[in-house]
Structure formats: C-alpha cells, structure tokens
Amino acid sequence: MRLGLLLVAGVGYLLPAALSSYQTFEFTQVFIYAVALLGLNILIGYNGQFSLGHGAFYAIGAYTTAIMTTRWDIPYGWAIIAAGALSLVVGFLFGLPALRFEGLYLALATFALALATPQVLKYFDTWTGGSQGIVLDKPSVPLGLPISADQYLYYLSLTVLVILLLLAHNLLRGRAGRAITAIRDNPIAAEAMGVNAALYKSLTFGVSAMYTGIAGALGALAVAFVAPDTFSAFLSINFLVGSVVGGVASISGAIFGGAFIEFVPTYAQEISRAAPWAIFGLTLIIFMYVMPTGVAGLIRRVAAALARSMASEQPAPDSQTAAAEAAEGNRGSARAVLGKPD
C-alpha cells in the first residue's frame, strides 16, 4: 500500500511536465473523481451500505465552495474544508434514518436524494443562483510558482487525494476500520462483540459523504462553474459505475474508477458518434466480465498469483505467503459484498 501510494504520488507529481494543459485538466478530473469514489468505496466496499445518491453530497460540496468563495469572499482553502465538514454533518444526519433501510432499500432511498438534488438547487435560487448557476473564480497560483493555473489545480487535487488516501488507509486499518468491515461481514456478530453498529454505520455514511463533498468542492474550482444540471441522478450512477469498475473494496480502486468515468465516455464518442453510450455500456460489460472484482481486484489477483508461483519455485519467506493470502481473503470479502446485497 505504502509503496503503491509513493509510486502514484511520485508519478503524479512529475506527470504535468509531459502533459498538455487539456490533459492536465483531464487528470485533475480523474483525481477529483477518485476522491469522490474513495468515499463511496468506504461506504459500499468496506461497510456494505449502498448509495445511489452521492451526487447530492458532491453538489453540497460544490455549492458550499461556490457560495463561500463568490458571495462571502472566503479563501477557497477554507471553503474546501467547510465543504467537507458540511457534507460530513449532512451525511451523518442522513445516515441516521437511513439505518432503517438495508441493502436495496437504502439504495432506493439514496436514489431519491439524487433525483431531488437538481430541483432542490433550483428551488433555493436566492442562494444557488437557480438554473443559471454560479460562476466561480479559478484559484490563482500562490507564491508566484512558475506553473499554470491548470497545473496548480492539478497539484492541489493530487495533494488532497494523497492526504485523503492516507487518511482512508489509516482509518480502515485501525480499530474503527475493523468495526466497519465487521458490520459488513456479519452485523449480528459485530454487535455481539460490542460494536455500536448504528453509530458506526452513520459515521461511515458521514465520512463517505465528506470525501464526496470535498471532491465536489474541488470539482467546482476546476470547472469554475456550478449549476443544477451538473448534479443530475446520472452523476450518482456514474459514481457507482466508477466505484465498481475500479474495485469496490479497495482504496486504490478509486483511482482506476476515476480514470474510467473520466476517459471512457470520451473515447466512446471517438469510436462512435452515433451510439457512444452503447460503446460505453459494452466496455462496462467487458470490464465486469474480465474483472469481476474491479481493476484493483485484478491487480491483487495477479500479484497473488505471482507471489504463489514464486513461493512454489523457491521457499518464500512466510510474510510473503501471508500477504498473498490476506490479499486473497480481501478479494473474497469484496466478492461477498457484491454478490450478496442483503
């Protein structure tokens, strides 16, 4: 994990030198989606709760940033933090009643949230600017750094992503993480062991919403415009697609998922102008068929297979086999979540 993270961060920080400004923007979007998907992965993959409504939290983050920076002239850094905090609170509060719903029913409740979002945004038009939306100022490059505004946004998003990746890693590895996954794997056993399932489920929903809210804040800054049409129910579905394609019970999967929802629709348009969504759907089916546990799952499987073959050729140190087994186990639980929506 640490090694992978270092690799991603290293490549990520060097990449803009080789990219055009449009590509820089594309990768910025990938990182922003990755932050949002990370939140969704924590919820779906590790806690076993479904959400078809994370677009709503993305909208909360985006509008918080837009309103704070344009109406109150608050620096965007604070706006990002406020966006995360507000999403956390709203997510936690939404998680409380949502606890009564399980599996598919929760998915429907959150889907209602996604459907309502654009209309709610239009309704409060004195704040949100109605369907005309709000135009933001792009953050200017600080400290006179010799980079473009696009590159600055790229580094900002990448840095936020790396921080949030570390945070997610630490959260899930610790005591709280064990409680969260225990609730997913067997809620009754978890409660019997003293885990406060209700509290942890709401908290997980809150944290997940916080991640997506922060992504929304970054998204608003990157595009420099928010409007209700941005946050249609399709956005939430897209998040779910990215989460599953990337690998739902994994942290690194968020990055692959982000890349998928950023690049595949565009390439689908290049392949066929007439039916891009058919191409997108086909790609999705192929992905699910070839990698039922997502891109991250495939990588883990390949890594595990490599480790096993190395172990059979030469007596491997115990730790390596253990790691391979742990990876296998992880994959198994991911599959259990996907296959058993109870």
Partner: protein, 418 residues
C-alpha cells in the same frame, strides 16, 4: 563559372547576411499574419457541444441538421475552397462536460471557433473560458438575454430572439392596440419566467406598468394551475399574458376557456407548438391566442408552395433523412448554419478569430430563407443580438396566422449591468 563564383567572396557573405535578416523579418511578418488555429488552405475546423443524450436530447436534432447543412456546403465546394470540418461533442446538457469538451475542442482539436453551443447552463460554464482565450463562442442557442454583452464578453454572441425581447414585443402591442388594458400575467417561477416578466414590464415602461392588475406564478413541480387562472379572472383582467412551458400552457388555455373568461391572450413562443400545446388545449379554446414568431413553421401548410421551404424539405431529405422536417428544431439548425456560412463567406481569406467576430458584428439586413419576411438579422459592434424582431401571429383555429407589421424587440440593458 567556377572562377566567377569564387571571386565575389565577401558580397556572398553580405548576401547571406541579408538573406538571414530577411528570413528573420519574414518569420516575424509571418507570425504577425499567423493564422489562428483551425484553418488551412483546404479546411475550416469548427467545434460545437450539444446534448445528444440525456434529458435535453430533443435539442440534439438541431445540431444534426447543422452538420448536414455543412455537408451540403462541402458538397457544393465549401467556403472559398475550404471544406468545413464540423466536430460536435455530446455534453448531455451537463455544464462540466460542456466545459471539458470545449477545452478539448479548443486545446486539442484546435478548432477555429465554437459554433452554436446549446443551452443556457452549458454556455454559462464556458463563457469566461472562451473570452479569456479569445475564441469565438458564436451564435449560442439559448433564449437568455445575457449573451449580447460586447463590452464584457466580446467573443460571445447570441442568435435567436431573447425571452426578454419577445416579451417586450407583447408589451408594445398592448400599449399600441388595446385601450383600457388590464393585464393579468401567469409566469413560471424560475429564471426563464422572470426573464420574460422583466421584458414585459420594462416594455410597458413606468406608466404602463400600472396596467398590470395581477401577477400569478407557479412552480414547475406544481400539478395544476387552476387556482391561478381563477385568480387572474377575478382580478378583472382583460389581457392574459401566458408565460408558461408547454404542459402548463395547454392547461392554462383550456382552463381560461372552461371558466368563460375571454381575455386577449398572449402565449410565449416557447409553447407555440400547435401539436404539443394548442391541440391538447383544444382548437376552439385556442382561437385568437397570439404569439410572436421569427421563423416559418415547417409544419404549417401555409408554406407548402414556398420555394425556400421546398428547398429546406429537399435538403433534409437528401442530407438528413432521419430528421422530421416538420420539427421546427430542424429549421432552426438550417437557419443558424446559414448565418455562420454567411459570416465565413464574408470573412473571405482573413479567417482570424478577431476578423470573424468583426464580420459577425457587422451583419446588415440579412434575411434568411426560413425567417419570416421582414425579419432581418442585424448586428453592430455594440449590438450582439442578431435576431430581435418578431412577427405577431394569431391562432385561427387551425394554424398560426401572421398579422400586422414586424415588431422590434427591446434589448435587456439591465442584464448587462449586473
């Protein structure tokens, strides 16, 4: 030969030096004359974004007809020998997607300009970007009144009459032709409705505004608007201004008729569809309703022998046979494409972005074949609203019947101040 060439050794150095200077100067001159991206000796690259998928995909047909029209232009030899390469991306009416696709068009595809991007929120998302990068955002397809702002946004220009313009025409008509008017207004409570309302009130001017006896609004989520209609009737109004989207427009016209109210009715052009509004409202109930139009309605049998309409039908059959020629959206695509072709032809070989904006801002009395006669496209460096005039038409129980003269709509100065 050899001797002669060896002798003027020094002059040759001078010549080389001079050549070098000339080359540098030449390069300099060349950069000064450098062509903006998107233009070669054989091609003009034009970008666009439109909703081909998603909830607003019905509008996509406009741009399909635009693409078809450019194919026709290319088949006929192109523009000054250059073929149009039209790149149109799907943005699903989602502003961030529009922004992303527009950046792709400008930075990766290197288009000369962005032509007829569709929708108010999508265009708002790229407004700043286009003007910062000085790429024309030409003839945007939205009815909002903010696009004609040559001072603040010199690279963006509208095309169709704005809601504001249209409503001011109704106000002028009321002032001119309806003595003792008592006006009742029903409007949708959002940006679109308020844009119309502002145009109508400003069109009446301060003293005329007293003529408004009642304003009723509804939310787009409301199931019915019966009580609003009853309130308007009870207010004693004898003029009914109907600023509603198609579903509500049909309900309103029907209800007005049912309760025996007989006001002079104005219906906004947004809902002027015979099939989608007047038919469900009832042709009897719709008789006498007025609206403002700028284009010939291709579904109207009135035009069946019109040579321009015949050419339009023939064009669609050949270049876009999947499209329904009766759909007025296709006529819009046809006309807006012709406007761009006109501007490109006028620009000649000076196809720089700045020159194209100059030509777009100097159109004089251009009447396109599918516009009502008398409706002229006019622009100037201070007027970025190409179509401002409207022809009033009255529904005669079967179709819209144009009457009276062409009215000039007002420009929303207020919107520009904000």
């Amino acid at each position: 030969m050899v001797r002669r060439s060896r002798r003027p050794n020094v002059p040759r150095k001078i010549v080389l030096f001079a050549l070098g200077i000339a080359l540098i100067l030449g390069l300099h001159v060349k950069t000064a004359w450098a062509q903006d991206p998107g233009v070669t000796a054989t091609e003009i690259k034009i970008g666009n974004t439109a909703p081909y998928s998603g909830p607003a995909s019905a509008y996509g047909t406009i741009l399909k007809t635009v693409a078809a029209y450019f194919r026709k232009v290319n088949d006929e030899g192109g523009i000054n020998g250059r073929k149009i390469n039209f790149i149109s991306y799907d943005d699903s009416y989602s502003p961030p997607k529009t922004y992303e696709m527009t950046r792709k068009l400008v930075e990766q595809d290197h288009v000369l300009l962005d032509f007829a991007p569709l929708g108010t929120p999508p265009n708002t998302a790229i407004w700043k970007y286009m003007n910062q990068h000085q790429v024309p955002q030409l003839f945007v397809l939205t009815g909002a009144s903010k696009w004609g702002d040559p001072k603040g946004h010199p690279w963006t220009m509208g095309w169709q009459p704005t809601y504001y313009s249209e409503a001011s025409v109704y106000a002028h008509y009321v002032l001119d032709h309806i003595p003792h008017a008592k006006i009742g207004i029903l409007y949708q409570n959002d940006d679109y409705g308020k844009d119309y309302l502002a145009g109508f009130e400003d069109g009446l001017a301060a003293q005329g505004r007293r003529l408004i006896v009642n304003r009723q609004s509804y939310e787009v989520t409301d199931p019915r608007i019966d009580s609003q209609i009853v309130n308007l009737k009870n207010s004693g109004a004898n003029v009914f201004v109907n600023i509603t989207t198609p579903k509500f427009a049909a309900m309103a016209i029907r209800k007005v008729h049912e309760i025996g109210w007989r006001p002079v009715q104005f219906l906004n052009n947004v809902s002027a569809s015979v099939g989608a509004v007047l038919k469900p409202a009832g042709f009897e109930a719709s008789k006498g309703v007025m609206t403002g139009i700028f284009g010939k309605d291709p579904s109207d049998p009135m035009w069946k022998d019109d040579p321009a309409m015949k050419r339009y039908y023939a064009f669609l059959q050949r270049y876009n046979p999947a499209a329904d020629p009766k759909d007025a959206f296709n006529a819009v695509g046809y006309s807006v494409a012709q406007t761009l072709v006109y501007v490109l032809k006028r620009s000649g070989n000076n196809l720089s972005r700045a020159n194209i904006m100059r030509e777009a801002a100097n159109i004089r009395d251009l009447n396109l074949p599918l516009l009502m006669s008398g409706i002229m496209i006019n622009t100037s460096p201070t007027d970025f609203y190409p179509i401002k005039q409207l022809q009033l038409a009255k529904f005669n129980g079967q179709r819209w019947e144009p009457f009276g003269t062409v009215y000039a709509g007002a420009i929303n100065r207020q919107a520009l101040v904000q």
